[in-house]
Symmetry: C2
Subunit: 341 residues, 2 copies
DNA sequence: GTGAAAGCGCTAACAA
DNA sequence: TTGTTAGCGCTTTCAC
């Protein structure tokens, strides 16, 4: 058959086709499709109509190739991280407001960051945004020599690479203060293992407990960023410290906190009556009605806006900076007054 | 300053730069970069070295523009669906094996499917793969006139659009059989509300219970695809049928099942001792150690392979087909023998 | 084995 | 207001 591809014809219409059909030059069609000034309203309307009839849609690759700039911001994100989803979603409108498009490149167990970044380079993105990158500072610096680069939700470790993140210390402090306010004293922090931000949060926790004069009642145990890590940490803790178990827990993040809650439930320990639990991220998970987790919220909207703003600045040649936002404690149902002893 | 962008120079090196630096023609560089035959090993090595020194990376837009075909398969996926992440991850290698690249376009609450698909068209993808699309059959048919289209995990409703999915009826039947084998009789199905596949699964459930002669002990209640839906459904059920509560539950999907488990936990009802629960999808969630949910598994690897295979066929002009894979019951920790009454 | 030249679909000067 | 022209960075004949 002549018309392959579901009879859609052998190829998509191009600007040349539209120009021919409308009896004008391609340049004029270009002007009209871009909404640029320099065409009569009458022609404009006619060409638009012809284009629609033909089902013409501009070829973005050709557009971007021709314009010396791609006006593309590349985003590497992890497919399995709900918070990355929250961020990506907000990057689109933020970028559009500055006249940029977003190119997505995913990171997954079978697809490493290098592969994802390679795609962004081949697409000639003008800047790279790495969500929760696991790259080391020297590698980031190398990448930064190729293209303006930022990391999100972690420090970059090099002044060549920008960073937008929330103040981990402040976030953990807010969590500690909240529990102290509620009368808790024996407070446990389950750290993030080798996840980015873990060290800062653990240090912040210890410092704040000291500040309140309860250093001796503070404990930090090894955890990690997933539910399983939370499960492991709390199980260990409960099994080994029956006598003096904590009344308040600050988990590394929401997923970790959810693991903790799950174990508590299974053991018949009620939250918040027996133990208060605080997460970190304000991910969609934490907001689910049945979880309703008190958490330290990172404002995805604000982060996205700052990321795009910094990207355009870096593209314009400004030096990258470290932008630190203040997280917000969001009390929900998993924290309450400390039980009377 | 002359060198904007972190001193990386004003522009990225092009093939012309490499050719000049190596003292050969661009055509030869092209041959070498693509690994095409027609260059001496010696030149090959020298040009490669020069390219590396310059940090040359081919411009994919220019490549794809020049080649009449984009060799791009566009994928529209939902950012917040873990199973979509599983699929996307597997589409990369499957596509690469056929010489295609993947272009990602995300769907989210603030970014609808039309927007996502528009991007795929502008990128001149040769085929569109829509994960869990919510588009109606007529709209899908319209899209199919533009480009070869497939939907995944649902029927397309039009023969113009391909579909790769698992047999919902068979999956639910396997779940029912499993419970029946374990001695369960009073079995509840929490359906998926208006989610794709919900009707098929509910019908399959009823039919299979009838087949086993336990139609009278089968119940179907309204649910949905999220944890909250599961919470709502089971709460209702427990509150209204204290006397004859089910011993087995088949939830619409894993997330729904997890909501159910959460409520059971909170009420001190043990699973599987008191109530067995089965999910659907075998998402990462279900495999978490502390959840360890019995579920009906959809083989993401196989789905991805079939999707790419069908995409290449459709691109070659073949008519789309409906590919139905058989799901696999995966027994884990949330199902066990029915309690003795 | 290598190079010259044309052109993919578009935009942007510049002319008319 | 409209058309002409010259590329963007690459691949692909077709000569040499």
């Amino acid at each position: 058959m002549a018309a392959a591809r579901n009879g859609q014809g052998d190829r998509r219409p191009t600007m040349t086709d539209v120009a021919a059909a409308a009896g004008v030059s391609v340049a004029l069609v270009s002007i009209i499709m871009r909404g640029a000034p320099g065409a009569s309203d009458e022609t404009r309307e006619r060409v638009r109509r012809v284009a629609d009839e033909l089902g013409y849609v501009p070829d973005r690759r050709a557009q971007k190739l021709r314009q010396s700039r791609s006006r593309l911001i590349g985003v590497a994100f992890e497919l399995q991280q709900p918070f990355h989803g929250d961020l990506v979603e907000r990057l689109y409108p933020a970028a559009a407001a500055q006249g940029y498009d977003i190119a997505l490149s995913s990171v997954a167990p079978t697809r490493n960051e290098q592969a994802a970044i390679g795609d962004l380079i081949r697409e000639r993105c003008e800047a790279a945004v790495l969500l929760g990158s696991r790259m080391l500072a020297p590698d980031l610096a190398t990448l930064a020599k190729r293209m303006p680069t930022q990391v999100v939700a972690r420090p970059s470790g090099t002044e060549l690479v920008g960073s937008v993140r929330t103040d981990d210390t402040a976030g953990i402090e807010a969590a500690v203060d909240h529990l102290i306010d509620l009368g808790h004293r024996r407070i446990l922090h389950i750290d993030g293992g080798d996840a980015p931000g873990s060290a800062e949060r653990a240090a912040g926790f210890a410092a704040r407990m000291r500040h309140h004069g309860h250093a001796s009642e503070a404990r930090v145990v090894a955890g990690g960023p997933t539910e399983s890590d939370g499960v492991r940490a709390i199980t260990n803790t409960l099994d080994t410290s029956e006598a003096s178990r904590p009344t308040g827990i600050v988990a590394f993040n929401d997923r970790c906190a959810i693991g903790v809650l799950d174990v508590l439930l299974r053991r018949g320990i009620h939250s918040p009556e027996d133990i208060s639990v605080i997460g970190y991220d304000d991910s969609r998970l934490s907001r689910l009605a049945h979880i309703n987790l008190t958490t330290v919220a990172q404002d995805a909207d604000k982060i996205a806006t700052e990321v795009i703003a910094q990207a355009t600045r870096q593209i314009a040649g400004e030096a990258p900076t470290e932008i630190i936002l203040t997280p917000q404690l969001t009390p929900r149902a998993t924290t309450g007054r400390a039980p009377v002893e």
